[in-house]
Structures are given as structure tokens and as C-alpha cells.
């Protein structure tokens, strides 16, 4: 039994009649709490990033947002028909492209910033 089905079973038993259509109230509220705190944390963190690095920052957050790959993997593990399997396979392919190109690109840009200028050639100026 996969984790998600365990959780769904738990939700189903814990749900009150008035919230029968929702995940159990606790889970939803905790998710909301996590969401709100992560958003505020993100705003604070990004405000602190030097403007110099905004381009690699975008490449980095792009790669991080490709955690949607995890969503694709989870749904893939539940796939019961071809439609789901194909959709999630494409999802994994797209997201992993982003993850790989994102991190490699940030590394490349970071190296540009770290590269020491070539030693100046003497004797060219008058």
C-alpha cells in the first residue's frame, strides 16, 4: 500500500460529516500553515539576495520549483491506466530536464562570477 493511500484512508476515517469532501481539517490547516510560513520565509530570503545574482537565482528557483517532479513520481506510482502513465512520464521528463539544466546552468554562471580575470599583459599601453 502506498503512502498516499494510507493517508487517504486516514483522512476518510478522520473526516467529520461537515467536511466529508476535504482532507481531514488538521491536514489542510497544517498544509496551509506550511504554505504561509514558506511564502514569508521565501520573501525574506529573496529580498536578501544581491542584485548581482538575480539571474542565477532565477535559474536556481526554477530548478527548485521542478520538485513538481516529485508530484509526477507520486502520481506515476498510482497510475492505473495508460493515460495517467503517459501524462506522468511526460511530466517526469519535462521536470527532470529542468532540474538538470537548472543546476548545471547555475554552476556555469557561478563559475563566471568566480573566474579570476586573466593577468593583464604588460607593455601594451603607451
Amino acid at each position: 500500500m502506498t503512502l498516499i493511500s494510507v493517508l487517504q484512508a486516514a483522512n476518510a476515517t478522520a473526516a467529520l460529516p461537515s467536511t466529508a469532501n476535504m482532507p481531514s481539517t488538521n491536514d489542510l490547516l497544517i498544509d496551509l500553515l506550511v504554505f504561509i510560513m514558506a511564502t514569508f520565509l521565501g520573501v525574506g530570503l529573496i529580498r536578501g539576495v544581491t542584485r548581482l545574482l538575480h539571474t542565477p537565482l532565477m535559474a536556481l528557483t526554477n530548478a527548485i520549483s521542478s520538485v513538481s517532479m516529485i508530484a509526477a513520481l507520486i502520481v506515476m506510482s498510482e497510475s492505473s491506466n495508460t493515460t495517467i502513465l503517459i501524462l506522468t512520464t511526460v511530466g517526469v521528463a519535462l521536470a527532470s530536464t529542468n532540474v538538470i539544466s537548472g543546476f548545471l546552468l547555475v554552476e556555469r554562471i557561478n563559475r563566471l562570477f568566480r573566474k579570476k580575470p586573466a593577468p593583464k599583459k604588460e607593455g601594451q599601453a603607451k
Binding site: 503512502l3 538575480h54 537565482l57 520538485v67 512520464t89 554562471i109
Partner: protein
Amino acid sequence: MSAINANELLAMYILAVVLFILALRFMSDIKSSKYGNWSASLGMLVAVVATLLAYTIHQTDYLVGALAVGLILGTPIALRVPTTALPQRTAMSQAFGSLAVALVGVAEYHVDLPHVPAFTMAVLATEMTLGFLTFAGSCIAFGKLQELIPGRPFVYPGKNFVSLAILAVAIAAAVYLVAFPTQGIALYVLAAFALIFGFLLVMGIGGADMPTVIAILNSYTGMSAAALGFVLNNKILIVAGSLDGSSGFVLAVIMSQAMNRSFTNVLFGGVGAKKVEKGAGPTGAKEARPVQSYSPEDVATILENATKVVIVPGYGMAVAQAQHTVKELSDILQEKGVDVKFGIHPVAGRMPGHMNVLLAEAQVPYEQLWEMERINPEFPNTDVVIVVGANDVTNPAARTRPESPLYGMPIMNVDKARTVIFVKRSMNPGFSGADNELFYLPNTWMVFGDAKKVLSDLVADLKAD
């Protein structure tokens, strides 16, 4: 059978979250930025491995195939893309990311059928709408940045009304799906109208506003990933998605502030739509006002006698691939004992921080790159400012003319310098469509021609002396 239990999974996710947060923290300083990438990559590895251990995927062939595609596509994209094309590559990766979340949303909908709880359906519908509109918008942004489609905003009477009506249809389809989840047709309506809305939204935005657009789309991709986290009850999706969402949002705010415009104005304003007809080059300038046109040799003479020079680069430098020539110029001036700085406007280029990367590639030390707020007080004591491929961000009308579309935008006060050298292809106005007052000032020297050509002539003249 899972290799790890729910608590072990959560523990690994917590580790991954800590690594992501540290990664963003490391980006606050250039010295620690390399750890930022390692930390984030490690976090992603931990998260993916944990997921694969906890959720058994039986279709191993599909999984390996998908990962192989990612590796084969991702590696060349990262290693081959020229730094001048980074904005396009960002738009493309956002298109990939948003399509991935949208498709996973559709897949999850099929998993849950036929009994989709209303809450799940509402979140999924929101997530798919965001995902599809971001996908279409990112494709158009890519097309505009790659110059496959005209950068000019596509406007027509009632544009905003039509766009909002289309969005309303998508939302109506979403509401209908929540009420009747088995009506799959509504899903197609939602997807189609979200795609059209995203298409029209970005078609209506000018090339110069792309830094803001890219940042907003970045935010949407993150938000839809977070929404998937709610549906799958997965905390790491929520955290990483909202970190990305807030990152895009903050960058968009910074970009709009740097242009003294609101979000809504960027998204729906269509600035630059009244762009002046195609310019006629240096000889056929429509303005009756005279400009002073000089040759690179004249400029070499004045630079010989300068002690303080500031170079102000813009998107034109990227287009002309002139960053290495700019560095050569800076080197030869420094050898002659001239103090050379670079003044970087926050919206110079086509994505946040673009100029810094280009100049870093040309090995300009980052200590030489000065932000607008720091460089502006320096201009009155500067002998010569060289503007390479920037335009609107130097227009003094932003300070003086309330009727100008640029009025109120913080600009580089280059006009306060003793002499301004303006390297430009023609008398065409910038993306705002506003004529640049700077061209007609007595202390402005216009040098017409391709930025790279003009600057290499200038370097040659300086070397010859």
C-alpha cells in the same frame, strides 16, 4: 512495498527543505553562492531518492526513459546556451516546468476519478489553470525574447475585456468541474481557455517588460507546484513551490518598482504599443532637433583626457554580443590610468541581473559593477559616460516631463556627467516609444553604428596612440 516508512520519508523531506532554504540564503552573497547551488542540488537529490524509496513505481522502463530524456535534453541546454540567451532559456524552462505541473494535475484528476472530492477538484482546477496559462505565456515570452514574434505589444480595442472574458470562461469551467467532476469535457474547456488567456496576456506585453513577465510566470509555476502539494498532501511540494512562488513575486515587485509601474500596468498597460514607426537611421531622423554625431576617433581623443569613466550597458550590448569588447575598452582605459566603473540599472537587459552575468562572462570583476543607487551620485564627478545599448533607462524625461510614458521611473542620471557618449544603431526610440531627451543635450555625443564595431574601432584608436 515501500522501502521506507512515512516518518522516514518526512525526515528526508525535512532535510531537503533545510537544504533548499540554505541554498537561497547562500545566494545573498557572491562568495557563498557556489554553496547555494550544491545545497539545492543535494536537496533535490534527497527529495527524489526519498520519493522513489517511499512510492514504488512498477513501470520502471517509463521512469528510466523519462529520466534519460531529462538528462539528454537538460545537459546541452545548460552547457550550450550563450549567456546572451539566458532570458529565452529561462522562459523555456518555465514553459517546461508549468507544462509538467499542468499534466501531472490532469493525471491526478484521472487517478481520483470518478469520485473527486470537491476540495481536491478545486485545487486541481486552480493548479491546471495556472499551469496551462503559464505554459502558453512562457512560450510567447520565449518567442518574443528569441525574436520569433515581434516584441511590440499586440493590442486592439477592448483587449483587456476580451482577455478577462476568456479567463472567466476558464474559471466557469473550473467551477463546473468542482460541481460535476466526471464531466471531462469541462477539463478540455478549462485547458483551452487557460492556454488562450496566457497567449493573449503575454502577446499584449512589450519586449522591454519581459523581466517582470518572466518573474511573474516564475511565481505562477511555483504556486502551481505548491497547489499540487495540497492535493497530494506532500509538504516538500508546498515548501519548494511557495519558495519559488515568493521568489518570482519579489523579483517582479523589484522590476516593477525599478520602472515605477504597478503589476497591473505591466500586465494590462501595453506600454510601447504606440511605438514610433520604424526609424530611418542616422540620416533620416524624423526629429528636426539637431544631434551631434561623432566618430570613434573623436571619442578616443576625449577618453585620452578623462580620469573618470562610467560605462552604462543595456540590452543592445547583449544583442551586439559586445560584452567582450566593452571589457577590452575598460582594460585599455585602466591601463592608461582611467578610473572605470559600470553602472547597472535594475531593468537593463531582458531578465533580472542579466547585465551582471554578461559582464562576468567577459571577466569584468564584480567590484567594478555598481548598482544604480550607488552610481547615480558619482555622475556629476564623471568625465565621460559611455552608454552602450541602453536607452529608456537614461532618458532625463523620466525626471522632468510629467507627460512622458517614462515619468517617475528611476533612471541613470548620465546627463549630469560632463560628456555622454551614446553608442546607438539609429535614432529609433527605446521600447517605451519615448524620444530620448538625452540625444539633444549639448554634452551628448552620438556615435552611430553597431555597438561591437564602434567599440572595437575605439579600442583600436586608443591602442594606436
